[in-house]
């Protein structure tokens, strides 16, 4: 008969946690970018080096975030798409895997499909900007690889993403 207390406590804590989550104002995830170079690249003019992947602010942006149930790419990520496409044009041997991910809502297998849609969306954008199809590989992880485990939009928006992973740099 210990349940009621534990049950109530759990409910209270869970409710508080949910309230805390939902009261957070949604804000765009912080871009994982540090400005370490002053040059602006992305024109595909051959000025990238392999090291640029680690030093160029634009190329260091490797995560594209998405709205709920959406696969279109926000304008704020267009610059990153252009930079990666330029790099891929310059280094035809370079290969990327586009890892599609979802938040936890919905069923796991359906979310595999949703993650692939996002991956395909980024693949299409990179291809449209000049990367060749053979350089791009899409893998959907659905909701299996969250970067954030809380139940709320502040966390969910960090999980709805495509990660650009270089499997060969040149």
């Amino acid at each position: 008969m210990k349940l009621p207390v534990r049950f109530l406590l759990t409910t209270v804590v869970a409710t508080a946690a949910l309230a805390a989550c939902s009261s957070n104002k949604p804000k765009p995830p912080p871009p994982p970018v540090e400005q370490t170079t002053t040059t602006t690249q992305g024109s595909g003019n051959g000025r990238y080096t392999v090291e640029s992947l680690d030093t160029d602010a634009c190329l260091r942006q490797r995560v594209i975030y998405f709205d709920l149930d959406k696969t279109d790419i926000h304008s704020e990520f267009q610059a990153a798409i252009a930079c990666h496409a330029a790099y891929l044009r310059q280094f035809p041997g370079a290969r990327v895997t586009l890892e599609g991910n979802c938040d936890e809502r919905g069923t796991r297998e359906y979310n595999l499909g949703l993650g692939e849609r996002r991956g395909n969306s980024v693949q299409g954008a990179l291809g449209g900007a000049g990367a060749s199809t053979g350089q791009l590989n899409v893998v959907s992880y659905g909701e299996e690889r969250p970067v954030c485990r809380e139940h709320g939009e502040s966390c969910w928006q960090k999980n709805r993403r495509v990660e650009i992973v270089y499997t060969a740099k040149q």
Binding site: F7, T97, E109, R145
Partner: protein, 438 residues
């Protein structure tokens, strides 16, 4: 605990119409109770052999099994006032006074070579009619939980007319760790969560276990090759093979009722459609062809059709298509999100994950009336799986930051939380009926 507090807590429990019994990591919630549940007493099974008494009490397991299916209300062990081990020892007026409809008695004997022999009898209390008098099952002491589940199955079938499903297993996936340090395990355990065994381990995600109809193999999705791929593994030997590793998604395997084919969702890098793979010839047949996401195929019991999830109408809904292929017809019309179907053995009911806003419950669709009934209360309930007799449904839920499993009676009234592992537990699949020795 001081008596007064105990009483206060008891009152509270009643006020919430919730009762919980804990035993070795298993918790049983009786939600709202069930007035129509059949009162039954299972007397502790006395050990009548000559060596050390076994630790497993058959009576405890039978009592728990009958409780969690929702159709019975077992008299609590501490209210069992007499201890007959045979039908001839039962004083029926005692149990009539305790308002019991049925009584189970039994004993455990030595069977030679270290084995035990469990004998059980079932009587009606009202007219003292013997329903089971010669049930006897022998086995190793280590197999006594399985024997107890078989006794519960026999009692269940005798009273309800439907085969019991307590002597079955469940498969599920556990996930521990975070970031690049994850450990995934595909596990199997008894239907009540006891006796967990690892089937396969991986540092990459494992998903969607599905039982073969003979209960000997599991199909599942593994990312160990860097992308989703479908494996079929023999549980006893551990031998396994990759049966699908195409570009794009290889997901949602489901064995056909004859065991010879596997329905799957394949995207070939574009969008997932439903396919059927012949496991013998490896011939692949495309069943659906639509630019939407078609996934989570489930066979009808006779293998003639496949129920699946598709978002062709905008949001995921359930559709049914001939196993020979076609467009499919929509079968869910209420609820904005209906996915991950599990079809009952008679095809009359479909359990599914039903979503509305940010809340996902398990709902059961009655095919004849078209009405869906919600049977779970969590916020992120998904992945329902019917027991082979459809008396119970296993599903995944989220509590705090943990994924856990519940089994719930088909009417939603009795729910049991299965605490199976540290970390997250998900993607449950209820096995088919089990053969002895399996």
């Amino acid at each position: 605990m001081p008596q007064r507090i105990f009483h206060w807590l008891a009152a509270f429990a009643l006020a919430f119409c919730t009762m919980q019994v804990s035993a070795q990591g298993l918790t049983l919630d009786i939600v709202n109770g069930n007035a129509s549940a059949i009162p039954i007493v299972t007397v502790p099974f006395a050990y009548q052999g000559s060596s050390t008494p076994p630790e497993t009490d058959i009576g405890d397991i039978v009592r728990a099994d009958l409780n969690r299916c929702g159709q019975f209300r077992s008299l609590a062990k501490d209210q069992v006032v007499e201890f007959p081990a045979r039908g001839s020892d039962i004083k029926f007026p005692t149990w009539r006074l305790l308002k019991q409809d049925y009584i189970v008695v039994g004993r455990v004997l030595d069977a030679g070579a270290g084995e035990v022999r469990v004998e059980a009898e079932l009587y009606t209390v009202g007219d003292q009619k013997p329903l089971l008098t010669n049930l006897a099952i022998s086995g190793q002491r280590s197999a006594m939980r399985g024997i107890a589940h078989q006794v519960a199955d026999a009692v269940y079938e005798k009273i309800t007319g439907v085969r019991g499903a307590f002597f079955t297993r469940i498969a599920y996936v556990t996930a521990k760790g975070s970031g690049n340090n994850m450990a995934y395990n595909l596990m199997i355990a008894d239907s009540d969560g006891y006796g967990p065994q690892t089937v396969v381990s991986s540092r990459q995600p494992l998903m969607s276990p599905a039982w073969s109809p003979d209960g000997r193999r599991l199909a599942y999705v593994s990312f160990e090759r860097g992308n989703s791929a479908i494996y079929v593994q023999d549980i006893a030997t551990g031998a396994r093979e990759v049966v699908s590793a195409n570009k794009g998604i290889n997901g949602a395997p489901a064995f056909s009722p004859d065991g010879g084919r596997l329905a799957l969702a394949l995207s070939h890098g574009v969008n997932p459609d439903i396919y059927v793979l012949d496991l013998g010839s490896r011939k692949l047949t495309q069943i659906t062809r639509h630019f939407a996401i078609d996934t989570e195929p489930t066979w009808s019991p006779d293998g003639s059709s496949i129920v699946f999830t598709s978002d062709r109408s905008g949001k995921p809904q359930l559709y049914e298509v001939s196993a020979a292929g076609g467009d499919g017809n929509r079968i869910t019309f209420s609820g904005e999100y209906n996915a991950k179907p599990s079809v009952s053995y008679d095809g009359k009911k479909i359990a599914m994950s039903q979503g509305s806003g940010n809340v996902y419950h398990i709902a059961v669709l009655d095919r004849a009336s078209g009405t869906a009934t919600t049977i779970s209360t969590g916020s992120f309930d998904e992945s329902p799986s019917f027991a082979p007799n459809a008396s119970m449904i296993l599903y995944a839920a989220t509590e705090g930051s943990r994924d856990v499993l519940y089994s719930v009676s088909a009417d939603g009234r009795v729910r049991q939380r299965l605490v199976l592992a540290d970390g997250d537990v998900r993607s449950p699949a209820w096995s088919p009926y089990r053969q002895r020795g399996q």
